[in-house]
């Protein structure tokens, strides 16, 4: 009897591991920044480079920082969703134009619409590096105290917006 049960048990354990591995995105590296203070910076705004922006200005608010670029393909996929989200006026979205030329970034937004409360330009990518950006688009959820509560690597989709981002936004806003 043991002869049949043991291989079966081993097979089942193995299946669980393999099945779990199937649904996993190995490109998605957990960020060590979640739960820590959002790194400070001062960056010029995309449309008015003389005006600066720093995350301290958002203290007391729950906000999203969306890292995008005109050269990024997946950013175009999530763009309509961001527009929709900004129309609903649930949470302010700051756009970080990552390693991009100002004209290109402006042109993209002028054409496709601007979902951002504010757009800042990280031309050399230094701020993106401090935030651990390695694949655009990436979206950070920052709480009222300026802590990174959640990081999404890759495009915003209706699913992860509904299941991961919006519930957390509501929870943090209620705090």
């Amino acid at each position: 009897m043991m002869r049949f049960i043991l291989p079966l048990v081993i097979f089942l354990i193995l299946s669980v591991f393999l099945y779990k591995g199937l649904g996993r995105d190995t490109r998605e590296v957990p960020s060590p920044l979640v739960g820590k203070a959002a790194p400070a910076f001062v960056l010029p705004q995309l449309y008015e480079p003389t005006k600066k922006f720093s995350p301290q200005e958002m203290l007391g608010k729950v906000w999203l920082m969306n890292v995008w670029a005109s050269w990024c393909g997946a950013c175009k996929d999530e763009h309509p969703l961001l527009l929709e989200l900004s129309r609903q006026n649930i949470v302010p979205i700051v756009g970080l134009d990552y390693k991009d030329k100002a004209e290109d970034g402006q042109m993209t937004l002028n054409k496709a619409g601007n979902p951002y409360t504010l757009v800042i330009a990280d031309a050399d990518g230094k701020v993106g590096f401090d935030y651990g950006v390695y694949g655009v688009p990436e979206t950070y959820l920052i709480d009222k105290k300026g802590m990174i509560a959640f990081k999404l690597i890759g495009a915003v989709t209706p699913e992860n917006l509904r299941e991961k981002i919006l519930p957390r936004v509501a929870e943090l806003q209620a705090k």
Partner: protein, 165 residues
Amino acid sequence: MMRNLLLLLLCLLPTLTFAGEAKDIADDPVLEHRMMLLAEKVRCLVCQSEPVSNSHSDWSKDVRQIMREKMKAGATDQEIMDMLVERFGKSVLFDPPVDRETMPLWLAPFILLLLGGLGLFYQLKKRRSQVGEAVLSVQDEQRASSLLNEPALNEKPAANKDSQA
């Protein structure tokens, strides 16, 4: 005639192109060497199985540039690695440190080896007990000893053959 000459010249064109590795080499070869040694230990997060030192991705180029800048500013190798781990997590290291989080990763091979060894041990033990001691009858024993004591038939001719050779 003119066309052939032109074709010939066109064939020579590839010799003018160079297979350059990375363009962004620092002016200081010592620093560049130190940076490359360190970059070998860093995983390119965009390409995953490649180290930052020989990846062509933009992200790796940025990391190399930042390493150069930090080194020029006097940072130690350890400080640079800590800075990378702080931003991108331990998975940027090809050689993850032994700590609570990575313990299962380090111990798994030994645990599996131990389990396999135990399994093999018990299996062999069980098999031995299944075989049991062979019991010989008196006749069998006599036959066996007479066979064993018989002078080997093949031995002598074989020895002769050897001496002839």
